[in-house]
Symmetry: C2
Subunit: 228 residues, 2 copies
């Protein structure tokens, strides 16, 4: 009976801090995306491709979450975006306080899109608000097309799903259309993108979604400030 | 400061119950394996293949852990082994108390090997003893060959690693030998098996390992009871 109020206190503090982060990001007109996936679904590669493809029109900043190592942040910096690595030790998800600390090390001036790569875990990150505008689930086709049914929480709370590694479909029993169908059964509002970060297939629709989300956010912010 | 003693109390109780389970399983001469992996690495398919391949010589019982659905337990029953499904709701790992309850619904008489399929999560299950003889990590090649470096806890505490989906190697940048090498850097004592549950490639070595682990355990038990 001791645990429950303690846990409630932790998540309540997290939500309060996440809301403060959301305000701060809005003040800078920044779109923030929280990428959630199993280990190896291709989150880092998706970020690399996204940063490179939009380098002429948008400025990115990236926060990389990992148990250990700075391998992912090094890849992002090589792709051309400033990145901060958070190592949680053994911690299975990112929390708003970690994002708060990471932002001390990133200049937000001129940034258009902040991408947060959460810890590789399809369960625990789901319940922790990081101040993002949208959660994006990255699910790779080799993981199987039944994942939305077995890990519904991540899909239910996301705004978008990127199905990665679709180039492997000919060699798998899992099918893109089945994965899409199962995801939409859990959450009919999901924007779904079938892509291959290896071949580049399908990435243009995903990039359009980012452009569109940013434009919508800035339009809302402009209206709210009376400048629209 | 409140959280730490509470958490210590929970894991201590878990370890005590796990040790009691280990004794009970030893009394029946049962080898218990705790399978840990990311979502979609192929744990259930590996169990199906294992149960089918050894059906003439060993009797299996299976405990399936999932957030929700009984899809996996249904697959195991179809493959010919008694199975109990544990649904954790949103819980990210199995605990000894769940195994204790599940064993109430499984007859252990005549069983040789108990396989526990943990929740699809490469992080949280690592710290929870379920009374097993060995932890087995299942890592699929499409997840990437850097996984041992990025999720070292699971690999450090396991006795065996099954690298699954090696039939996809020609279509991936990840390589079996690199994954093996990275795993052995984290834990030089790992028994490593490169398999394809789709084609059956490499499964014979894995099956031999199970036979060998069971024989060793029974030999130790026989010596301890003075019957060896």
């Amino acid at each position: 009976m001791v645990r429950i109020p303690v846990l409630a206190e932790i998540t309540q503090a997290n939500t309060m801090l996440a809301n403060a982060l959301r305000k701060e990001l809005a003040r800078h007109g920044i779109l923030a995306l929280n990428l959630i996936a199993s280990p190896g679904a291709g989150k880092t590669t998706l970020i690399e491709r996204t940063v490179s493809a939009l380098s002429d029109e948008l400025r990115f900043a990236v926060i990389e979450g990992d148990l250990t190592t700075s391998l992912d942040a090094e890849r992002i910096v090589a792709a051309g975006a400033p990145a901060v690595q958070i190592n949680t030790g053994g911690g299975c998800h990112l929390e708003a306080r970690m994002i708060h600390s990471a932002l001390d090390q990133l200049s937000l001036d001129g940034v258009d899109v902040l991408i947060i790569e959460n810890i590789g875990n399809l369960i625990c990150p789901t319940g922790w608000d990081l101040g993002e505008d949208a959660k994006v689930v990255v699910a790779s086709l080799p993981e199987g097309d039944d994942k939305p049914l077995k890990y519904p929480g991540a899909f239910a709370t996301a705004q978008a799903l990127v199905i990665n590694k679709v180039d492997l479909e000919p060699y798998l029993s899992a099918k893109v259309e089945k994965l899409r169908e199962n995801a939409l059964r859990i959450n009919g509002d999901l924007a779904v993108f079938a892509v291959s970060c290896l071949t580049g297939e399908g990435l243009e629709n995903w990039l359009d979604w980012i452009r569109d989300q940013l434009a919508r956010k800035r339009s809302v912010l402009a209206r709210e400030s009376g400048c629209g």
